[in-house]
């Protein structure tokens, strides 16, 4: 009995210890990127990975890091924090990367941040949006995307200047993103004097949202705010149409509502729906439109703000590595601190404000589906089309 245990253990050790590193090329600068490639979150992980790869090719084609080639080592976190942690530890101790990037889900990002801080290796977060990530005063963790509490920022002015709702209902999926998002929107509502009539969380992947929507219909709010991923978002809008809900506006809190699949799956039910977003390809950032066109052409699939975050991360990483005095984790950290670069995702600078440290500060935007196309509608100075408001739902849904 015991012998087999011994064998298994020795075998484990042997396999792990004596397989040398596959990539032994010395003249590349290695950066570890951790993203979900399998599991439920794989869809967005794939968009980001492709964006990282695209940016990498461009940076290397333009001369790499002061003559050296940059190399991204991708690891799959499978959407689980303990796996993300193992991946981060592998990259740091086995592959000896100078810094880490990526980080999609908040929980996984958090696990990676902990490892990065412990090992004193800089980690540039691309997507993980929980506020806590940059509130820990961890000096090796940088974040390019706004924290979840700032997602409804642009909505605040849009609501108080245009819609002027008195009451609201908040529907959110029970995930880290949805749960923190609902809390911060609740605060936004309190701030601009909107009464929240009901807040309902749901398990994502449901077939029938009607019981929840019936309740919303009964409460009859002016505004329905939804934090949902793509398929839930589509079903909720379809079923809202079936039940003839008629608030002044339906607003999505990012994620699912800006994806092309959303309008494909909802058609007229998704028409005129608004959404908060972090990025749109028509924004006047250098390279934004080019990135979008190139991505769509090359991979024959759509990209959105997650992809832009990935691409911009690669740009920031490339920039920092070029400026780093020494290609060591600490050297790279110094360079990241001094970052001031224009990316497709907007200008990136790591600053401290509120409780956050080393956080990039960016404005957010409001988009709307108009005639089956996603249009930027707020703030006005960057809008591609005037917003549609007030909305006649009867006519839209006919």
């Amino acid at each position: 009995m015991k012998r087999s245990f011994g064998c298994a253990f020795v075998l484990t050790l042997a396999v792990f210890l004596f397989i040398p590193n596959a990539a032994l090329c010395q003249d590349t600068v290695k950066v570890g990127i951790i993203l979900p490639a399998t599991g439920e979150k794989a869809k967005f992980g794939e968009i980001e990975k492709k964006s990282f790869e695209m940016a990498l090719e461009e940076i290397n084609a333009a001369g790499g890091i002061n003559g050296k080639k940059m190399e991204f080592l991708f690891e799959d976190d499978t959407g689980r924090p303990d796996v993300a942690r193992a991946a981060a530890e592998k990259l740091i101790t086995k592959d000896k990367v100078v810094m880490l990037g990526g980080g999609y889900g908040s929980s996984e990002t958090f696990a990676i941040s902990g490892v990065a801080q412990q090992n004193r290796v800089p980690f540039l977060v691309a997507t993980g949006s929980d506020n806590k990530i940059t509130e820990m005063k961890w000096e090796y963790v940088f974040r390019i995307n706004p924290p979840v509490s700032e997602y409804p920022q642009a909505l605040e002015s849009f609501l108080s200047e245009v819609v002027k709702p008195k009451t609201a209902a908040i529907l959110y999926e029970n995930t880290n993103f949805g749960s923190s998002g609902s809390k911060s929107f609740q605060e936004t509502c309190n701030k601009i004097g909107i009464k929240v009539l009901l807040t309902e969380g749901y398990q994502h992947g449901g077939v029938d949202f009607k019981p929840m929507l019936v309740k919303v219909k009964q409460a009859n709010p002016d505004l329905i705010y939804m934090i949902s991923y793509i398929m839930d978002a589509s079903l909720i809008m379809n079923q809202s149409m079936e039940l003839k809900l008629s608030p002044k506006v339906f607003i999505g809190g990012g994620a699912g509502f800006t994806m092309p699949e959303f309008i494909k799956n909802t058609a007229k039910a998704g028409e005129n729906v608004l959404s908060a977003t972090l990025w749109y390809q028509t924004l006047p950032y250098p390279g934004a439109a080019e990135y979008y066109d190139k991505f769509v052409k090359r991979y024959n699939m759509d990209t959105e703000y997650h992809g832009a975050e990935g691409y911009a991360s690669a740009q920031v990483i490339g920039d920092a590595l070029k400026r780093a005095k020494a290609l060591t984790p600490d050297g790279v950290r110094e360079a990241l601190l001094a970052t001031d670069v224009k990316t497709v995702f907007g200008p990136v600078k790591f600053v401290s404000y509120g409780k956050m440290t080393q956080q990039n500060k960016l404005p957010t935007y409001v988009v709307q589906w108009i005639n089956g196309k996603l249009e930027m509608v707020w703030p006005k100075d960057v809008s591609t089309k005037p917003y549609v408001f007030p909305i006649d739902w009867e006519k839209t849904w006919k």
Partner: protein
Amino acid sequence: MKSLYAKIAVLALLAVFPLFVGSDYYRHLVIIALMWVVIGASWNLLAGYTGQVSFGHAIFFGVGAYTAGLCTTQLGISAWWGMLLGGPAAMLVGILIGFICFRLRGAYFALATIAIAEILRLIAIVWRDFTEGMQGILIIQTFRSKVPYYYLALGIAVICMLLIYKIIKSKWGFYFIAIREDQDAAEALGISTFRYKSLSLMVSSFFTGLAGAFYMNYMGFIDPEVVFSLHFISIMAILVSIIGGAGTMWGPSVGAFIMVMLQELFRSSFFGYAPSWVSHAHAMAFGVLVILVIRFMANGVVGDWSKITNLWSKGKPAALVTNGN
């Protein structure tokens, strides 16, 4: 005597492992494997020895982990208190569950445990004021180095295995097996089946809860989807035991190392040697492994060790088929 030496040798090897291997990556993998040794052995005591197949060991893992986490967020004390409280808390839940579920047999018991685990997961998600919901509980790990965690995990694993070994060799162990073999006959012989099933569940839930509390302290982050997961905790606990050998003393330990190793090998595409699509195949590999093991080595690597060695020495695949059928 020989097997005693082997045990000491393996233990010694594990004890000196972090001294020779400095890489946090390998240490992390062995720590996780040791955690699964504890969970697998606990599941095995209840299912492999007592015959009560649980599909819900995530209940105890989650309760242990949340006990530790809530110590910090609700009581404001160190999560290390969870190492003391997590086991008893899980045991308490175990007693309650036994009270409800032990009147059920076989598949019904299994289904009831799934249901309870799902209910707890949903409650942990919904009760945001108490558990922080899906935002999860976060603590800062006490130690930067992995070595303390390593020896802690090793210590828990050794104590767990020793205790379970003692139990199996005692009168309890024989009662457990009697219940597994034929519950009615055991009852007829005057064994209080409810009492001994409960005892088995108590020990099992205690150690699973302890493993959960350890996970909280070691990983520093938990949320309901992670610790109450049907797939990644409850079913993983079963797979670890089945592949190593349910109803054998050392099976789950072997299974734990095999599973953690396989998972990591596949996830990293065999350290980049294999094409990258391999990393997408790790779940598939698990599935195939489960089917093959159940079909051809129903008692796992340890339980059917003789079959494997026979196969090796004779080199006759036919032997496997005849044994299998």
